[in-house]
């Protein structure tokens, strides 16, 4: 498809995407914003336009900050297409998407992906049992449905979100059976180096300490530097067992919430085969972008947490920068004007970055999460264990794609979202190669499963019979 339908297409209506779209509109670009959800906000501001006030208050001012973003979006000239699943982007930047069961295509000379991040998988024995969720999932349940876990809840892992969710659940009256932190003790010493820089974000540190204090005061049992975690239960989660301070522990619970940080969602950037680097601090891939978010594919920019984790408040200036880059590339903004607008944005980004090295080091996941034990299921879709993946390495597999071919790991509906990073890291260990040299799964269209008839329909202007899939929302 060659004819342009827009100047700019933005995928993802979280803070980076909204900010990019608003900035683009302010430069006079004809912009369309696509998102799979039915409302703006991404995950961090999920359901911000419809959340009941009581819940918004509980979630706090950081969450409510999204209200103004959403309001500005609806007052703008940006074309909005929600409930839209982007399932293919071609190298010429043609976007193929599905809305209400029907596929359509749009094309623009500039494309910005703001598809954000997802929680890192926390593979450990028993993690596939019903009742095990990510900590962020529990927060999403609050945001989007006003629901909280019933019964006893154990939280396990490491990261600011773990403590935040614990506090929010506490405020909502949930019974917390314990918080089991898994960050190795050594992390604390290593993180001290970055404390001076982190002190440049005093509010952030104060929040963290405040949460810890709150949880202690509420009498929630807390454990640190835990290892040998296992979720016990036959058909559902019934308890978390672990070792801490040399002693074995068992916490009975109906729900176990896991969290080991957040990682960029690289499905789209991998689909387009742009250059990626391995970030050995954040233990994830990051697409390589310039100061305006442009990747190794001209016209294709990525911004926000989809590049590297920097948080919601960094996502806004990052999105705006990408849009300024796009506007410049289209000749709608002069270089001096772009620089003028970019300067304060870069300042904010830098400021938001002060806390990162400290957090990334303090909460670096333990090796038994990134390189789990043999019995641990790594590919949830195809039920492939870490041991099986190591066997494939011994058989001669040099990377994730051969491993995928021989073991089926990565072949299920999630297409490697849950297992990709773990497989790269297991192979890195097993083969004695750097993750950069091990590589990642080759990602192909469709980005998410779509009915065969949807693909068939693109061949033929005469409609093919498609059963109505329910409106996404």
């Amino acid at each position: 498809m060659n004819s342009d339908t827009h100047d700019l297409i933005v995928i993802g209506a979280g803070p980076a995407g909204i900010s990019a779209a608003l900035t683009a509109a302010s430069c006079g670009l004809k912009t369309v914003l696509l998102d799979e959800q039915s409302r703006p906000g991404g995950q961090i501001y999920r359901n911000i336009t419809a959340v009941p006030p009581t819940i918004a208050a509980l979630l706090g001012p950081d969450y409510r900050h999204g209200e103004s973003l959403a309001a500005r979006l609806s007052n703008s000239s940006v074309e909005l297409r929600f409930g839209t699943l982007v399932w293919d982007v071609a190298r010429d930047l043609t976007v193929t998407a599905q809305q209400n069961g029907r596929s359509f295509q749009v094309h623009a000379p500039q494309l910005i992906a703001a598809t954000g991040a997802m929680e890192r998988a926390s593979p450990l024995p028993g993690w596939t049992l019903p009742g095990v969720l990510n900590a962020g999932a529990a927060q999403l349940a609050m945001k989007s449905a006003g629901s909280v876990p019933a019964g006893r809840v154990v939280l396990a892992g490491g990261g600011p979100l773990l403590l935040l969710v614990a506090c929010q659940l506490l405020d909502a009256g949930v019974t917390l059976a314990g918080i089991v932190e898994t960050s190795p003790a050594a992390n604390r010493w290593r993180a001290l180096r970055y404390l001076p820089a982190a002190l440049g974000a005093p509010a952030y540190l104060a929040k963290g300490l405040g949460m810890l204090w709150r949880l202690r005061r509420a009498g929630v049992p807390m454990f640190s530097a835990a290892s040998a975690l296992r979720v016990e239960g036959s058909d559902r989660a019934q308890a978390l067992t672990f070792t801490a301070r040399g002693a074995a522990h068992r916490l009975d619970a109906e729900v176990v919430l896991l969290h080991h940080g957040v990682v960029p969602n690289t499905q789209l950037s991998r689909l387009l085969r742009v250059d990626h680097d391995w970030d050995s601090v954040q233990l994830t891939w990051r697409p390589r972008v310039d100061g305006w978010g442009e990747t190794s594919l001209a016209g294709f920019r990525i911004t926000g947490d989809g590049v590297s984790i920097a948080g919601a408040l960094a996502a806004e200036p990052a999105g705006a920068l990408a849009a300024l880059g796009a506007a410049q590339a289209l000749g709608r903004l002069t270089a001096p004007e772009a620089e003028r607008r970019a300067a304060p944005l870069r300042g904010t980004l830098q400021q938001q970055g002060h806390i990162r090295p400290f957090l990334d080091t303090l909460y670096r996941p333990p090796e038994w999460i990134t390189d789990p034990s043999d019995e641990t299921v790594v590919c949830r879709c195809e039920e492939v264990t870490a041991g099986r993946i190591r066997e494939m390495a011994r058989l001669g597999c040099q990377g994730p794609n051969q491993t995928k071919f021989f073991s089926r790991c990565g072949m299920g509906p999630c297409q490697g979202r849950m297992c990709g990073l773990t497989v790269t890291q297991i192979l890195s260990s097993a083969l004695g190669k750097e993750p950069e040299d091990v590589g990642a799964y080759r990602i192909r269209a469709p980005l998410k499963p779509v009915p065969l008839a949807s693909i068939a329909a693109l061949s033929n202007p005469i409609a093919v019979d498609i059963a109505e899939t329910p409106e996404p929302t």
């Binding site: 799979e36 959800q37 039915s38 995950q43 359901n47 419809a50 009941p52 006030p53 009581t54 819940i55 997802m118 929680e119 596939t128 049992l129 019903p130 009742g131 095990v132 969720l133 990510n134 962020g136 999932a137 999403l140 349940a141 609050m142 989007s144 449905a145 006003g146 629901s147 909280v148 876990p149 019933a150 019964g151 909502a172 009256g173 058909d235 559902r236 109906e254 729900v255 969602n265 949830r380 879709c381 195809e382 039920e383 299920g412 509906p413 999630c414 979202r417 849950m418 998410k448 499963p449 059963a467 109505e468 899939t469 329910p470 409106e471 996404p472 929302t473």
Partner: protein, 103 residues
């Protein structure tokens, strides 16, 4: 596994009903099907096609694909990406998709 938070009457969302495996289940307008099922006490959303293992949602944001259910005849729909509708017919999958006549 989950329960709705207590809200003042003015903020409560309109109640509606969905049908899960033939059973009438209460739900609230605006919530995802996954949330409604969790609130209704559904613990096992499906059994996997590979080995029949029980599964339930992990991520609630559309990346884990463990919340798959059948909605109004459409199989393997991510229930966390669908909002409830009055009278929605839900079935919980046992293994792989079936073709031909609906089982």
């Amino acid at each position: 596994m989950f329960r709705p938070m207590v809200l003042p009457a003015s903020e409560q969302r309109r109640a509606l009903e969905i049908i899960v495996e033939g059973r009438r289940v209460p739900a609230r307008e605006g919530e995802t099907l996954a949330a409604a099922l969790l609130n209704a006490g559904v613990v096992q959303f499906r059994r996997t096609p590979v080995s029949g293992q029980p599964r339930a949602p992990l991520c609630l944001m559309g990346v884990c694909f463990d919340c798959l259910v059948e909605v109004d005849g459409a199989q393997n729909v991510q229930s966390c990406m669908v909002e409830v509708r009055e009278g929605m017919q839900v079935r919980l999958p046992d293994g792989a998709r079936h073709v031909g006549d609906s089982a």
